[in-house]
Each structure stands twice: as structure tokens, then as C-alpha cells.
């Protein structure tokens, strides 16, 4: 990684920056402090306009989706972005204001629909309230006459006429009154009560004690008329909404345009964001950035072609971003690495090692020739048909390589869709053969030789850990930290190897056992002598002895690899269970139908569950067991200033 500084004329700013964005060669440094004699150009307001436009189009697309769902296939998420020609950008720009009008229109219509919906709920509530008063032939807000007080309202319990008369008489026997019950249900009695105006306060008191309340929204219309009016309004609103929805749906065929316009604004917002970071004088401006070493010439050529400018390259400091470069075998695993952390300047790029072990362990856990072949073929077809974007393509390639490994491990374990070939053969011929008898090559059956396979798993684990420690050894040598290399890492590596030799010796001859024990003891002594070297006085001895305790962590790391056996076995046994279930229904037509259905569903479930398990556990073995030995991480990934778009991909000029 190099640093780069480009000084160019202000009048060529637009042209140069656009070309830099197209070429995606450099990452622009964030502006940290002002330099004397330079000023910055504030582009925030322009950026905000573009960002608002992006938000508006996003909202419009969401609304469009709500009313007319975009038809997407099951596999469409694999599909790459549509490619467009750079010349088309001009067309997009010229159409953008019209598209924005459509988006505004959609958003406006949607707002109206929502308001109308709220209004119609309000109207429906009023209608419900009016329902109780539908037989009343005077308005709800009828006032007192000169001789009569009028009370229209409700009481909080159900009365019939006799009960109400009695209740009122009980409260105040002197009160003269006349009433009409309009509605008496649901813990509520709606009534109209008349009394002489002279007794108005008396009547009010009585009613208050009974819990009388006036209607919420009294109107000057007769309830029936009011209800008719409200109903008419409701119809109007619904009609309006239907019309608005229709208008929105009519924009559905502009969806593509909206997406493209959104990307156009997104790209422009990015551009202005970069201009914000630049130092300007009256006539020139300066771009500070990072560039991968191999792209320097390309950048020089580009700048010479499009603008008059001065370019200066320098050595990058430690916190510069890193760009991972890997061949096609290792590149798919880069995503796995960056999910953990990008390498810092002190790290080596462990992707090739990671890739190899990832494919290897995944295969060992998933371990079925049929599933592996299926993965390879299906992913091959998806890659051919959908032409996915780079990130998705890498992910798919990762699983394709895993599939190859799965295939071979499946052959070793003698598992092809579990024991499907044997089970089907037995089903149709009634004989009783096993996979081991069918397959012409010797197999290692995890169910029968579990102990053997566990030893193999742990042996692979030892190799994995040793490779990780080897990386640490290499890094220490590179940093000229010889103590770290030979004492901290080398001695432990030799100790582990010593134990391994000792284990081999236990199974074979005494001599090997003694050699192993010898190595282990010698290294242990070495560890005791060296591990306290950074401490003082008595700490030297204690530090040395205490470091031997680390052996427990190595043991637990190694045991962790027994999951290779466990998950390998899980896939095989689950497949076997489904094969067994499928052949249980006898040899009738129905039996065969059941068999096919159970085989399809069962193996699909098995693939789903165990592929997930294998993926997760392979990752864990890499992250926890191996990376902990040497990998620091904490670097930043190189993110070039480029055309970042969501829906379209702009082809580069060739």
C-alpha cells in the first residue's frame, strides 16, 4: 500500500474526481486537520439534497412494493446487478427529475391514503356512537326551551322505563320529569329527559348521581341525517383511496427507473462527500489517499489522460488500510477472514491457509459424496445462470470448493446420500448388503471405527494448530523477535510434537515412546527456563513453571477437534435414518411414492441442518483454535472510492 497525493486544477475537479470514482483505484483519506493556506469547500447542502433524494426513492420503492409486490424468484437473491453502459449515465441524469417527480407523487399519494385511513377510522367510531341514537328525531345538541330543560346523554348501566323512573324518584321524589329511552344495552342506557326549566339544577343533580354523561360529539343534525352524511363521506374516502392505490400501481413499471435513479444519486452523494474531504486553494485542490502498489502506474496514466496534475507517491504508515490479494483458490475464504477481522500491518495474510483448512474440515464434517456432488453442480448452475456479484460469487465458490472436499470425504467414509445405494438395493432385491460391500474401495465407517476417526481428527487438529503456531514463528522471525520465535512458539511446537511422537510410541514401539517422552521433557525444561525471562528475581522461576500450565489450553484445543468426528457422524447417521424410514412402507406403488417423498424431504432437511452445522463449526475451529495462535487482526480493509451502487453495475471502459 502506498500513499498518494494528487494536486490538480480546480476547474478540472469534476472531471478528475469522476474518473477516479469510475476507476476505483484510490481510497481517499479522511480529512483530519486543516493545513495552512488551504481551505475546504462545504458541499454538505448538495450532499443533503442527494441523500434526501435517495431516501425519497427508497421510500417510494417500499410503497410500491406494498401495493404491487415485485415478482421475485426463489433464487433471485443470487442474481447479479444489472450492468449498464457508462454512456447511459447521461440519460439517467436527464430523466432523474422526472423520476423524482414520480417518487414525490407516490410518497404524497401514500401520505394521503394513510390520512384517509385514519379519517375513516374516526368516522366509523362516530357512526358507532350514533348507532345508539338512530331513533332520535331531534339533534343531539338540542338546547333547553323557555319552559323545558332538555338532557340528552347516557347512563352507565341498563335500565328499563320502570326501573329508571324508580331510580330517579328515589334520588329526588320532588323532581318532575319525562323521558324516552333510546337504547339500553351493553351497560349503557341512552336517554332523553325533559324537566321543567325551574327544576333544571335539581334534575342535573339527580342525573349526576346516576352517572349521566352527554355524548362526546353532539351535532346540530338529527342523528339519522348525520349518519347518512358520514356514510357518504366514508364512501368518498374509500373511493379516493382506491383511486390513489391504482395510481401508485400504475407507477409499478417505473420501478427500474426509480432504482437506477436512486443509484445515480447515491453515486453523486459519494462524490460530493469526497469533495468535502479535500483541501482547496484558489486555483488548485489536493487529494490525499491510499493506493495499492500495483495500481500506481494505472493512476498516473489515468491522471495524465484526464487532467493537468501533479502526483506524488509515498510509503504508507502502519495504520494504512490493507488490500487482500489472493488467487482464485483462496479468495472465496477472504470473506471468512474479514468477518473475523482484516489483518493489521503486523499480520501476514492467512487466507490461503484458512482456505485450505476451511475446505478440508468442512468436507470432513459434511462428508457425503452425494451432498458434495449436489453442492458442486447446483452452485455451478447458479453461477452460470445468474452471474452473481463478486461477493455473492465468492461465497458460492467457497461452498463449491467445500463441496469438492465433501465429495472426497464422502467417498472415504463410504457415504453417498448416507447408505442410499445399499438401502435402495436391499429395498428392491430384498437382499442385505452394506455400503462397505458395494463400494470397491476400502472405507472408514465412522460408526464402526469411531475411535480411529477420533484419533485422526485430533491428529488433523494437531497439524492445524502447529500450522497456526508456525505462522506465529514466521511473524516473530520477520519482526526479529527471536525470543518470541524460538522460546515462546518454537518450544511449544516441539513439546506438542514430542507428545504426538509419544502417543505414536504408545501404539507402536518402546523406542519411539522414549524418543517422544525425551523431546517433551526437554522442551518442558526449556520452557521452564525461558518463560520467566522477562520477569525479575523469583518471578523468573515461577513464571517458567506457571507457563507449563498452558498445556491444559492446548489439550482442550486439541479435544475440540473431536467435533470433526461428531459432525461427520451426524450427517451420515441422519441420512441413514431417512433412508431407513423411506424403505419402511413396503414395495407397493404407495410405498414407492412415500419413499420418494421421504427421501427428498429428509435429505433436504439433512443438508440444511448439517451444512449449517459444518459451516459454523469449521469457522469456530479457524477462529478459536487457529487464529488465537497467531492472528492479531484489527486492520482496516481497503475501500476504494468507487461507484457504490445497489441495483446497477456500471461497466468499466475497456
Amino acid at each position: 500500500m502506498k500513499t498518494v497525493r494528487i494536486v490538480a486544477l480546480r476547474e478540472e475537479r469534476k472531471r478528475l474526481i469522476e474518473h477516479l470514482q469510475d476507476s476505483a483505484l484510490i481510497q481517499v483519506k479522511k480529512h483530519d486537520k486543516d493545513v495552512d493556506g488551504f481551505s475546504r469547500v462545504d458541499m454538505t447542502s448538495q450532499m443533503q439534497i442527494f441523500e434526501r433524494n435517495v431516501a425519497l426513492t427508497e421510500q417510494a420503492l417500499k410503497i410500491l412494493d406494498e401495493y404491487s409486490r415485485e415478482k421475485t424468484g426463489l433464487l433471485s437473491s443470487f442474481k447479479g446487478r444489472r450492468e449498464i453502459d457508462p454512456d447511459e449515465i447521461g440519460v439517467i441524469a436527464s430523466k432523474s427529475s422526472e423520476v423524482m417527480r414520480i417518487c414525490n407523487n407516490i410518497n404524497e399519494l401514500n401520505r394521503m391514503i394513510n390520512e384517509n385511513k385514519a379519517e375513516s377510522i374516526r368516522i366509523k367510531t362516530s357512526l358507532n356512537q350514533l348507532e345508539a341514537w338512530k331513533n332520535l328525531d331531534i339533534p343531539l345538541n338540542t338546547k333547553d326551551t323557555s319552559s323545558t330543560a332538555v338532557f340528552i346523554g347516557s347512563l352507565p348501566s341498563v335500565y328499563n322505563e320502570a326501573e329508571l323512573t324508580a331510580a330517579i324518584a328515589r334520588e329526588n321524589p320532588k323532581l318532575e320529569f319525562e323521558f324516552e329511552i333510546e337504547y339500553a344495552e351493553d351497560n349503557m342506557t341512552c336517554l332523553v329527559l325533559f324537566s321543567p326549566i325551574s327544576q333544571k339544577t335539581m334534575a342535573e343533580d339527580v342525573l349526576r348521581t346516576l352517572g349521566f354523561s352527554r355524548p362526546m360529539s353532539p351535532t346540530h343534525h338529527i342523528p339519522k341525517v348525520k349518519a347518512q352524511k358520514l356514510n357518504k363521506k366514508l364512501l368518498d374516502i374509500e373511493e379516493d383511496n382506491a383511486k390513489a392505490v391504482k395510481t401508485i400501481i400504475s407507477f409499478a413499471d417505473r420501478r427500474e427507473d426509480i432504482k437506477i435513479t436512486q443509484d445515480y444519486f447515491r453515486i453523486r452523494a459519494d462524490k460530493y462527500n469526497v469533495i468535502n474531504e479535500l483541501d482547496h486553494t484558489r486555483h488548485v485542490f489536493v487529494i490525499n489517499g491510499y493506493i495499492p502498489e500495483e495500481d500506481c502506474e494505472k493512476l498516473t496514466a489515468l491522471c495524465d489522460r484526464v487532467a493537468t496534475c501533479y502526483i506524488e507517491f509515498g510509503d504508507a504508515e502502519d495504520d494504512a488500510p490493507v488490500k487482500l490479494k489472493n488467487n482464485s483458490f483462496a479468495r472465496p475464504a477472504q470473506n471468512i477472514l474479514t468477518m473475523y477481522a482484516a489483518p493489521s500491518h503486523a499480520d501476514i495474510d492467512p487466507t490461503p491457509i484458512l482456505a485450505f483448512f476451511f475446505y478440508f474440515f468442512f468436507g470432513m464434517m459434511f462428508s457425503d459424496a452425494g451432498y458434495g456432488l449436489l453442492m458442486v453442480i447446483v452452485i455451478g448452475i447458479v453461477l452460470k445462470v445468474f452471474k452473481p456479484d463478486r461477493r455473492m460469487r465468492d461465497n458460492l465458490k467457497l461452498f463449491q470448493y467445500c463441496g469438492v472436499s465433501t465429495f472426497f470425504w464422502g467417498l472415504i467414509f463410504g457415504s453417498i446420500f448416507g447408505d442410499a445405494p445399499a438401502a435402495l438395493y436391499n429395498y428392491f432385491t430384498g437382499s442385505n448388503v452394506t455400503m462397505a460391500q458395494i463400494l470397491p474401495w476400502p472405507t472408514l465407517d465412522p460408526q464402526k471405527d469411531a475411535l480411529m476417526l477420533m484419533i485422526i481428527s485430533i491428529a488433523f487438529g494437531l497439524i492445524h494448530i502447529l500450522v497456526g503456531m508456525g505462522c506465529k514463528f514466521y511473524i516473530c522471525l520477520k519482526e526479529k523477535d527471536y525470543g518470541g520465535a524460538f522460546f515462546d512458539t518454537g518450544l511449544w511446537m516441539m513439546t506438542l510434537i514430542g507428545f504426538a511422537v509419544l502417543a505414536v510410541g504408545m501404539a507402536t514401539t518402546q523406542i519411539v515412546l522414549y524418543i517422544g517422552a525425551g523431546i517433551a521433557i526437554a522442551c518442558a525444561v526449556g520452557l521452564v527456563l525461558t518463560q520467566g525471562r522477562k520477569k525479575k528475581g523469583i518471578g523468573k522461576v515461577i513464571g517458567g513453571l506457571a507457563s507449563l500450565y498452558d498445556v491444559t489450553s492446548y489439550i482442550s484445543d486439541l479435544l475440540s477437534y473431536s467435533r470433526l468426528l461428531a459432525l461427520g457422524l451426524t450427517t451420515g447417521v441422519m441420512a441413514q435414518v431417512f433412508n431407513m424410514l423411506s424403505t419402511m412402507f413396503g414395495k407397493s406403488l404407495m410405498g414407492v411414492i412415500f419413499m420418494v417423498v421421504i427421501l427428498l424431504v429428509g435429505h433436504a432437511v439433512n443438508i440444511g441442518l448439517n451444512a449449517l452445522g459444518s459451516y459454523v463449526h469449521t469457522m469456530r475451529l479457524q477462529y478459536v483454535e487457529m487464529f488465537s495462535k497467531f492472528y492479531e487482526g484489527g486492520g482496516k480493509e481497503f475501500e476504494p472510492f468507487s461507484l457504490k451502487s445497489k441495483y446497477i453495475k456500471i461497466q468499466e471502459d475497456k
Partner: protein
């Protein structure tokens, strides 16, 4: 009644399957509730949430496999009729994954819930959450391997 070990073997198969399944069911159930809470806010996280939700599900699988292998070896789905001693050995073997699977299922479920909360806040936490949750799994695995090694060697035992 106990002239052979079939009954003990079947009890063992049930213990392995049911108890480990109990642990997983509780773990996955809790994680699923948490992940649905996240999904109600942002349904695009479905894939990641699914992974974290399914992690405590393996205990049930291990239990089922031990149960299945017992059935295959004890004369129900194949193999020879076990002696009483062999039946008791099957029963003993099932306890490892039964209890280990159940308790680690609970624990992993709780870890999953926290992992879901963590990656709901920031997508970049996902891989860390995932790895942390699988740390619990090693104990279920060890239990499983013990059960497994016993179950596959019982038919050869003369007890």
C-alpha cells in the same frame, strides 16, 4: 421380566433422545423468541438470526443419534438381543448425552439469546456472537462422544 436387556436399552434410547431434545427445544425456543423480536424490526436479518437460533439445536440431534444407534444395536432395528448387562450399559451410556445435552442446551440457548441481541445492534458482531455461542457446544460434543464410544462398543462386551 428382565431376562434380557432390551427394556434397559430402550429406556436408554428414550433418555438420550428425550433429555437432549428437551435441552435443545428450550434453547432453540428461547433463541427463536429473541430472534423474532429482532425480525419484527428488520426482516432482512433472517439468515443470520436463523443461524444463531439453530445453534442450540445440535444437542437434540446428538441425543437422537445416540438413541438411534442404541435401537440399531439392541435388537429393535437390528443387531442382537442384548444381555441384561449390555442393556444397562446402553442405559448408562445414554446418561452422558441425555444430561450433558440437556444442560448445555439450556446454557447455549441463553448464550444464543445474547448473541442475537448483540448482532441485532451491529451486523459486524455476528461472527463473534456465533463463535462465542459455539464455545458452549464443546461440552455437548464431549458428552456425545462418550455416549457414542460406549454404544458402539457394547455389542462386543461380554457382560
Amino acid at each position: 421380566m428382565f431376562t434380557n436387556g432390551m427394556f434397559f436399552a430402550i429406556v436408554g434410547a428414550s433418555i438420550a433422545t428425550a433429555f437432549a431434545g428437551f435441552g435443545s427445544a428450550k434453547g432453540v425456543g428461547g433463541a427463536a423468541q429473541a430472534s423474532m423480536g429482532v425480525l419484527s424490526e428488520d426482516s432482512s436479518k433472517f439468515g443470520k438470526m436463523l443461524v444463531l437460533t439453530l445453534l442450540p439445536g445440535t444437542q437434540g440431534l446428538y441425543g437422537f443419534i445416540v438413541g438411534f444407534l442404541i435401537l440399531v444395536n439392541c435388537g429393535v432395528l437390528g443387531g442382537d438381543m442384548p444381555t441384561v448387562g449390555q442393556g444397562l450399559a446402553f442405559l448408562g451410556a445414554s446418561l452422558a448425552i441425555g444430561i450433558g445435552g440437556m444442560v448445555s442446551g439450556f446454557a447455549q440457548g441463553k448464550a444464543s439469546v445474547s448473541g442475537i441481541a448483540m448482532s441485532a445492534k451491529d451486523d459486524r458482531n455476528f461472527s463473534k456472537a456465533m463463535v462465542s455461542v459455539t464455545l458452549v457446544e464443546i461440552y455437548a460434543l464431549l458428552a456425545f462422544i462418550v455416549s457414542l464410544l460406549v454404544v458402539i462398543s457394547v455389542p462386543a462386551l461380554k457382560i
